[in-house]
């Protein structure tokens, strides 16, 4: 069954017809031609399809398009501004946080949302003190929180310092 919906992606509204079975990922890639989000497994196992749904990271392959007509969607294409790359995008280039680039849009969307989760005090499996007022985002925390995004080229050792650098500047900015 096909349904007419409007998807708001990166600030623009798109009117389109989708099969009720269409995943958000396929709606973006196959209907709207927004191909930054990647399909690596279609089962929520690799994270390549990560987008931001109302600012939160989510596997778009596990979301149905018809259920997201009232959300603000941000894909990797929506992170860069007129002024150039988003700080996280620039950090991934500088630290060589990728090789083939296929997991990269998902990694970067995931990292951007992850920093917000930390700001909001969300603990992770490796957070030692759940009652602490602020979470210290050390490398161990980054590794744990980024493990939903697989990288077969195994750029992990570069992804961690890329994110840590952005987090550090972000924290400096918050204190200033």
């Amino acid at each position: 069954m096909d349904v007419e919906i409007t998807l708001r992606v990166n600030g623009a509204a798109h009117r389109l017809s989708v099969d009720t079975r269409t995943s958000l990922l396929d709606a973006l890639r196959e209907r709207l031609g927004i191909t930054g989000p990647k399909k690596g497994c279609d089962h929520g196992q690799c994270g390549a399809c990560t987008v931001l749904i109302d600012g939160r990271r989510a596997n778009s392959c596990l979301a149905l398009a018809v259920a997201h007509a009232d959300t603000e969607l941000t894909t990797i294409e929506g992170l860069a501004s007129e002024g150039g790359l988003h700080a996280m995008q620039a950090a991934f280039v500088e630290h060589d946080g990728f090789q083939c680039g296929y997991c990269t849009p998902g990694q970067i969307c995931s990292a951007v949302a992850m920093l917000r989760e930390v700001d909001e005090g969300w603990p992770s499996y490796v957070t030692a003190d759940l009652a602490a007022p602020a979470i210290a985002l050390d490398d161990e925390e980054i590794r744990e929180r980024m493990s939903g995004n697989l990288c077969r080229c195994a750029a992990y050792a570069n992804i961690v310092p890329a994110i840590a650098g952005v987090a550090h500047r972000h924290a400096e900015g918050s204190r200033a």
């Binding site: 890639r29 060589d96 296929y102 697989l150 080229c153 750029a155």
Partner: protein, 698 residues
Amino acid sequence: MIATRAIGAPLDRIDGPLKVTGAAKYAFEYPAENAAYLHLVQSTIAKGRIASVDAGAARLLPGVIAVLTHENAPRIEISDEDATLRVMQSDAIAYVGEIVAAVVAETSEIARHAAGLVAVTYEEHAHDVELRADRPDLYAPEKVNAGFATDTREGDVGAAFAAAAVRHDATYTTPHYHNNPLEPHATVALWNDDGLTLYDANQGPHGIVDDVAKAFGLPPERVRIISPYVGGGFGSKAFTHPPVIVAAMAAKVAQRPVKLAITRHQMFSLVGYRTPTIQRIRLAAGADGRLTAIAHEVVEQTSKLEEYAEQTAVATRQMYAAPNRLTTHRLAKLDVPTPSIFRAPGETPGMYALECAMDEMAIACGLDPVEFRIRNEPETDPDTKHPFSSRNLVACLREGARRFGWDGRDPAPRARREGNWYVGTGVAASTYPTRRRPSNATIRVDREGRYDVLIDASDIGTGTWTALTQIAADALEVPVERVKLAIGDSALPKAPNAGGSMGIVSWGSAIVDAARKLRARLHDDFGGVVPADGLEANGETDKNPESERFAMHAYGAQFAEVRVDADTGEVRVPRLLGVFAVGRIMNAKTGRSQLIGGMTMGLSMALHEETVLDPRFGHYVNHDLAEYHIATNADTKKVDAVWIDEDDPHVNPMGAKGIGEIGMTGTAAAIANAVHHATGIRVRDLPITLDKLLLRSP
């Protein structure tokens, strides 16, 4: 060798901004007007024939355009050596997951739904899918992969072994491994009056063109394959696999562009994998710790459709000195998908076994494993007897030991405990051959001094976009900003694929040749002034004639620290260090990434990866990324790679040895050796999962 200015610099990836913004287009993402979608149906039996196919319900589903089966699929021309590509040409079934039907539909949802409605019944025959070393039907192939001899023999291993002061005889096994690049194999196929165009995920368009052209009876120039950005390959996108053939077939039948992205599940049976191996290693040494015999005997599998013989024991031929030597490869032909290449085919499983055995032998000889390897360093290649063009394994071992803090290591196993963790360290050597393939390249210059470098090279994450730009800039003696590279298109000058760590060295050699010719023409014929309509020159290179005189290999030493939980057997790897002697590095940033990427994949192989085949049905049980575990971010701690200066004037004009694969060789052995040092338990069957540590006493 050419003078270097750009070469070696840690230039950011030229394709970086496109990749971090989502703008780089991978195969499936190419827009095609009026495209239809394709979904594959796979066999559920390992051997037999299709008794019936009922596609009636699928064809009746609104939106279905065509259903292809062996009864109606276009006939294609496939040679016996590529029999796996003979898709839907008969009712015979040779492995679980073989393509038995394909549905073309208006949307991907309808295609997938209809694929589930295709009813196939089978006449099932008894299948044979189990690799064992005691099979009576093992045979010696004529050659093993990459053209190496199947067996080598020198001296008398048996006599040397019997007479030795110290002996080691053990069998090591590795399981099925699947490459699993993050981008599933995908093809967009378009037929028009000119022929066939494919936007395709592969490691080298020219190699795919020939197979596709032959299959469809087209001259090669009427097939064009475009693949500038590819989401990883690790060997699985090097050769033509069945899905690309079906995509072209479906587009022909549907008379529309067709898009195919195979699923992660389908990748486990349709695009190759690394054969499991059973490797017996025998080492003999005198009381002085010098090896007197080395034997490496390998049993592995191929399919009944095609022969693929992994060159697992080949590295052993040149690693260490010993007067008595033996290497053999034996194959079982099974009712399984055809195995294929996966990052460092041969060296990856072979160096796991050899370097574990070297560790065990060092202990048996009462020697430090670094010192034991140095003591058995050969002066010339023990296999070909040629001198090495350069060989710095010893320097890598020494530099690695220094950086890692190896000196003063207590060799006693299970002797260090921090809290609940047993702690240990291990070392292993790495190696990979340095070879080169024929390649072409064209360079054009315009009056503004802008250079277009045209070559059908491939970037599967290897840094090709950046490294070739750097090589061209130095060969032309211009800044990198003046060079514009075009790759990943069979319309460009013919070049070999990204495989065998031969990409950069082959393509770069052709680019250097084109640059020399262009500069000579410009100087000799035009007095250094570019004519109004520009100037171009074609470069071409052949195999390296120096390889007849020298043995050429890259080397490295890997050091691992592991922690093993005393209660659960959980293994963590806080530190991995690789020191490599790989000639000149073309780009310090992307080069390091390739090396640490290989090492991390080696960690993944050591601890996590294993495809489990159910012998009752012949299928892979854990065919997705939830159950086929690859290393995640949290599995990786400190991973670092460094290299020593190495000038090798014989390998190629850049002095480069190729670094795509060596990082993965030896890593699993370094980790296995460290696990032994930590726990006293020697795991000789990968992966080192906690059950193997819990259920055994040291």
